[in-house]
């Protein structure tokens, strides 16, 4: 389908696919096995200006938006959904600065992120605060011209590898959800430490760790927006970042379909290619259609967000939910179509299935997305 990409977007797509094909795909299985962070690929992305795609030109970026970010994430995830996350999660960690940072904060942090010199990470989740983000316990206590952070963030993507952390912490417990604030924390700040690297089911080369703050003193000018805006920062960040998760799911699913088309054409049973069997064809047809529907929804949502539209929570949740559910189904069917081979690690599809699963869970489980979508629909109907 022709999505009428701009010349620049086509360039991003072509270059990211070239990187995925030539640089990421050949090493993906190895990184999946070792769980190591793919710094060599990060370096290539940095040199190719990929980290600057969604950052304004005055801060050294390419001046693109959520749509451009989605295109890049999709193509890189086609190569490996875990390796691409070093890029995509940096986007998640950067959105709070893009959306709520003041001029000084933007000038200080964005150029290094745009050049790929520094990765970023977003720290919200805690052991007892997942979907219920309101119950976070990490505190930020104001003391003179600085804040003191204490608490532990869990399952933070890019933790330990990133230099820039955007952190949500409670500044006023008595105010409930309005008592949270968002901060920028540099990795080398005394009092910042990291837990062990988690051993995950999928996206194994991406780094997931605890981020631990122990009497961590950060200057007052690192507060994002105003005190009390913490949850607004988090929610607005997710509204902009969810098409990225959707695009990650899309890239993984596209790879699954590509592998299926190749395999079912080559694999012969009963004297013919298995792609000639109607049962197989129907599965291929469903996969391809769901994939394209997901892509159309993601691009529409991304373009709507870039247009500056106000109420984007619903479309953002819709594309994340739909694309990740589709990716789970498509990758599961891919394993099915590969049969016994699909279950073996020598073949690429079992990894796709493992990698797809997380996209239904993080940046808000798909149950939370459905909640967002439904409440938006109900609110709209009443207004």
């Amino acid at each position: 389908m022709d999505y009428l990409l701009t010349e620049e977007q086509q360039m991003i797509k072509d270059l990211c696919r070239q990187i995925a094909e030539e640089k990421i795909k050949p090493v993906a299985a190895e990184y999946d096995e070792s769980g190591e962070f793919a710094w060599d690929i990060i370096k290539i992305l940095a040199e190719s200006d990929v980290f600057g795609i969604y950052i304004p030109e005055q801060y050294g970026g390419m001046g693109g938006g959520v749509m451009d970010l989605a295109i890049a994430t999709e193509e890189l995830s086609w190569g490996c959904g875990g390796i691409s996350l070093g890029f995509a999660a940096t986007g998640l960690g950067t959105f709070p600065i893009l959306l709520f940072g003041n001029e000084e904060q933007k000038q200080k942090y964005l150029p290094d992120i745009a050049s790929g010199k520094k990765l970023a990470a977003f720290c919200l989740t805690e052991a007892e605060a997942g979907s219920d983000a309101g119950s976070i316990k990490t505190t930020a206590k104001k003391e003179g011209d600085h804040y003191v952070l204490n608490g532990t963030k869990q399952w933070i993507t890019n933790a330990g590898e990133a230099e820039v952390y955007t952190v949500v912490a409670i500044t006023d417990k008595s105010k409930g959800a309005r008592g949270a604030s968002a901060f920028i924390v540099d990795k080398d700040t005394p009092g910042v430490s990291f837990g062990k690297k988690e051993n995950k089911m999928g996206i194994r080369s991406s780094a997931t760790r605890e981020v631990i703050f122990t009497d961590c003193k950060i200057p007052r000018e690192n507060l994002l927006g105003k005190e009390g805006l913490g949850f607004i920062v988090a929610m607005k960040t997710f509204d902009s970042s969810r098409p990225g998760v959707a695009a990650q799911a899309l890239g993984i699913a596209q790879r699954a379909l590509d592998e299926v088309l190749k395999y079912t054409h080559e694999r012969r049973q009963f004297g013919q290619a298995i792609s000639s069997f109607q049962g197989v064809q129907f599965m291929i047809a469903d996969m391809a259609t769901q994939l394209e529907a997901a892509r159309a929804l993601i691009y529409s949502a991304a373009r709507m967000i870039d247009s500056g539209a106000k109420n984007i929570a619903k479309v953002s949740a819709m594309c994340k939910m739909y694309a990740s559910d589709a990716a789970m189904k498509i990758t599961t069917d891919a394993v099915q179509l590969f049969g016994g081979y699909g279950y073996m690690k020598e073949y690429p599809v079992e990894k796709l299935m493992r990698d797809a699963k997380i996209t239904q869970i993080y940046e808000g489980t798909n149950q939370i997305q459905r909640g967002v979508i439904a409440s938006s629909c109900i609110k709209e109907s009443l207004s």
């Binding site: 010349e7 620049e8 360039m11 991003i12 270059l15 070239q18 990187i19 030539e22 640089k23 290539i44 040199e47 190719s48 200006d49 990929v50 600057g52 795609i53 390419m62």
Partner: protein, 262 residues
């Protein structure tokens, strides 16, 4: 320091057809790429510029108008500018006429220190154009360069790959180097480079623009003709003498005596 990179656009696949009349490659309907060996030359030029913290890299190609795409790609990788030599009069050039034509363009640009070429093109496989340019310009050359060890404004020390190891060669600049794939790993283009390439104006120079002697260009200026294309049989035999130098020399003398007598 001005560095010139000479590149050629070649058909993407190795499975190409030969024109039965001219015995040269059929280029219609085949996707074109930068000759893979030239990618190493581009990369090395960019690395030299980065190493010196300045300079200018100019990519030059001779070919049909669509060879501009190859030059645009060179710019997207980081070359500062590019020039295309294109003229109907150049058609049918052999390696002599091609290296003459390219050397005329090099003269026009002038003020260069290093010319880099791939060791050979993947279509013609002659490995003659680089050395030909050095001869036309009357400057030194090193072929099969696998490393540029040292570089000063007036000389370079490079490693030349041989079958069994490498030679270290010190050479005054300006000079021509043809490079092998062991020298580096070419980078991918960058997005900013691609944007620059899109906007870049690549001038096209004709035979007249570079003051070519018309008797030395194109099919008529080419002293050679392709008669037949074939894969030469691999070299056979040969004997490697081992031991102390005196011993090896003695063995060699014995061997030569037999050959001469025979």
């Amino acid at each position: 320091m001005k560095i010139l990179v000479l590149i050629k656009q070649v058909p993407e696949t190795t499975d190409v057809k030969i024109d039965p009349v001219t015995n040269t490659l059929k280029r219609e309907g085949v996707q074109s790429i930068i000759n893979p060996f030239d990618m190493y030359a581009i990369e090395e030029a960019l690395r030299i510029k980065e190493r010196l913290g300045g300079g200018e890299v100019v990519a030059i190609s001779m070919g049909p108008p669509q060879a501009k795409d190859a030059l645009a790609e060179a710019i997207s990788m980081g070359c500062d500018s590019a020039v295309l030599l294109s003229d109907r009069k150049f058609a049918g050039s052999d390696t002599y006429a091609t290296s003459y034509t390219l050397s005329q363009a090099v003269r026009k640009i002038g003020d260069f220190k290093i010319i880099l070429c791939g060791k050979q093109a993947s279509d013609g496989d002659t490995a003659q154009v680089g050395p030909g340019i050095s001869t036309h310009l009357d400057i030194p050359q090193v072929t099969y360069v696998k490393k540029i060890e040292e570089l000063t404004p007036d000389k370079a020390r490079v490693e030349r790959m041989t079958e069994e190891g490498y030679d270290i060669i010190e050479i005054p600049l300006p000079a021509v180097f043809t490079v092998v794939k062991e020298i580096n790993e070419p980078r991918l283009p960058s997005l900013k480079g691609k944007m620059r390439a899109k906007k870049a104006e690549i001038p096209v120079w004709t035979a007249e623009d570079i003051s070519c002697d018309e008797e030395k260009i194109g099919l008529d200026g080419s002293p050679t003709r392709v008669v037949k294309v074939f894969t030469p049989p691999p070299r056979e035999g040969g004997q490697i003498l081992e031991g102390e130098p005196e011993e090896v020399a003695r063995q060699l003398a014995e061997f030569l005596k037999d050959v001469v007598v025979g």
